[in-house]
């Protein structure tokens, strides 16, 4: 093991780390924003649910490396454009979360919905002020899976040549060095754990009534 390699490359590693952060966070956030109305529709209409959740399942089937390459052919972007990665990960995030949002809205007790209805909450208002907040625990659980897997999927972009932590893997392979590989894997896991913890905190803050459920 040659730890000196890490010290000598501290600056590029830092740059790759930052790239990795935004390549993971941006698609996850956009994906959530798109998945909420789609999941709501899937929850409301039986036929919409079958179509959307079926389509999401099929999209999720496409291997990431293939999607990274097919997107430029569809969108007309350049192959090295990081936009392809952002869009591909957004697609995966939406595909995963549509089902979660739909299940989450389905978990809202009927009495709660009926009470909101009786108090005059309708449509979007009821969704944003009553149903979504109650569905927060389920949505956060799905979001945690989404962001942790996105950290891992981003690394695949190294095979096309887009710099992020996965670049350490291809470098390690070219140099036949194990240190860059271990560095990259450890940083990915650390990043995933940090994102996971942040989401747990957000979920905790966003569902204050749940804390009272815990027996003292």
């Amino acid at each position: 093991m040659n730890i000196d390699w890490i010290w000598a490359n501290l600056q590029p590693i830092g740059a790759l780390f930052l790239n990795h952060i935004w390549l993971t966070v941006v698609p996850t956030v956009i994906g959530l924003v798109i998945a909420i109305p789609l999941g709501w529709w899937a929850h409301r209409s039986r036929r919409g649910g079958v179509v959307i959740i079926g389509a999401a399942g099929l999209l999720y089937t496409i291997p990431s490396l293939a999607l990274f390459i097919l997107l430029p052919a569809i969108l007309g972007t350049r192959i090295l454009d990081p936009l392809n990665i952002v869009i591909a990960l957004t697609v995966y995030t939406v595909a995963l979360l549509v089902r979660v949002v739909s299940d989450g809205l389905g978990s809202v007790p009927h009495d709660t919905v009926a009470a909101a209805e009786a108090m005059g909450y309708r449509g979007w208002q009821r969704l944003l002020l009553v149903e979504l907040p109650v569905a927060v625990p389920v949505i956060i659980a799905g979001l945690r899976v989404a962001i942790v897997s996105n950290v891992s999927i981003v690394t695949m972009a190294a095979l096309i040549g887009i710099p992020q932590l996965g670049t350490l893997f291809t470098q390690g392979f070219q140099l036949r060095l194990i240190v860059p590989l271990i560095t990259g894997i450890v940083l990915c896991v650390v990043l995933a754990v940090i994102f996971d913890q942040v989401l747990i905190r957000i979920g905790h803050v966003a569902s204050p009534w749940r804390r009272r459920d815990v027996p003292a």
Binding site: L65, L67, L96, S107, V145, S152, G172, L181
Partner: protein
């Protein structure tokens, strides 16, 4: 050359590097890895589901595994294993080992959660009818576990198809070759062609598993798939664990 021209060029459909041969290689790696992974994960999953031993360890490590980047794991194990294995198999064996490792968690989770998800009432009824524990396992719990077991196998298959593509970077044959070689030669048509074929292969296998699910799962189980509202968080997370996110 465009993607369409590459796909319709007869030269790409013949010879030892032709599309049918690479599809064959891709399927061969997938079948071998899945067979080995199933031989390990299904008995282990039955043991865990039946006895409840080791459940916490498996559930915990399944989540931790998700954050491990497949590409890094693949290259690391390749660099570690390659010097040990000599000759012709130097590319294939380390890759198959990684593919097997990646295929185990979804099958394992599918099997043991499947066995545990068997309706308590059905198990009780079987016990009341005088079934022994082994009979309950094989005649009640296993058929009830089948939907989740199949969905675990589906997750593993997609994971293996996807990772086998990436393994072309290390020198493995299969459809990933077109992507990696196309990148090296700046031949975008070849890359897109390979990517399209990989996507189609994955979709075809997905379709195969949904047909398999329809044929194998007992009709009695399919009718009761209307989910009860009691534990939506559980059903959501169960669905997510069998999806296994790493693409």
């Amino acid at each position: 050359m465009t993607l369409f021209e590459w796909l319709t060029d007869p030269a790409n459909w013949t010879g030892s590097r032709g599309i049918p041969v690479q599809v064959g290689f891709h399927l061969l790696y997938t079948v071998i890895s899945l067979a080995i992974a199933s031989a390990i994960a299904i008995p282990l999953g039955i043991f865990i589901g039946f006895t409840g031993k080791g459940e916490a360890i498996v559930a915990g490590s399944a989540n931790a595994l998700r954050s491990l980047p497949t590409l890094g794991l693949l290259i690391l194990l390749f660099l570690v294993l390659a010097p040990v294995i000599a000759g012709q198999l130097v590319f294939v064996v380390p890759t198959i080992i990684v593919l097997v490792l990646l295929a185990i968690p979804p099958i394992l989770t599918g099997t043991y959660t499947g066995i545990q998800s068997a309706d308590e009432a059905a198990v009780d009824a079987a016990r009341g009818m005088g079934y022994t524990r082994t009979q309950i396992l094989w005649r009640v719990q296993m058929p009830c576990a089948l939907p989740l077991l199949i969905s675990g196998l589906r997750g593993s298959t997609l994971q293996v198809v996807s990772t086998a593509t990436v393994a072309a970077y290390l020198g493995l044959q299969g459809l990933g070759r077109y992507i990696i070689d196309g990148r090296a030669q700046a031949d975008f048509a070849q890359m897109a062609g390979g990517a399209l074929l990989v996507a189609l292969l994955a979709l075809a296998l997905e379709l195969l598993f949904s047909v398999l699910g329809k044929v194998l799962v007992s009709p009695g189980l399919r009718r009761t798939t209307r989910r009860r509202r009691t534990a939506p968080t559980d059903t959501a997370t169960a669905a997510l664990t069998t999806l296994t996110a790493a693409r």
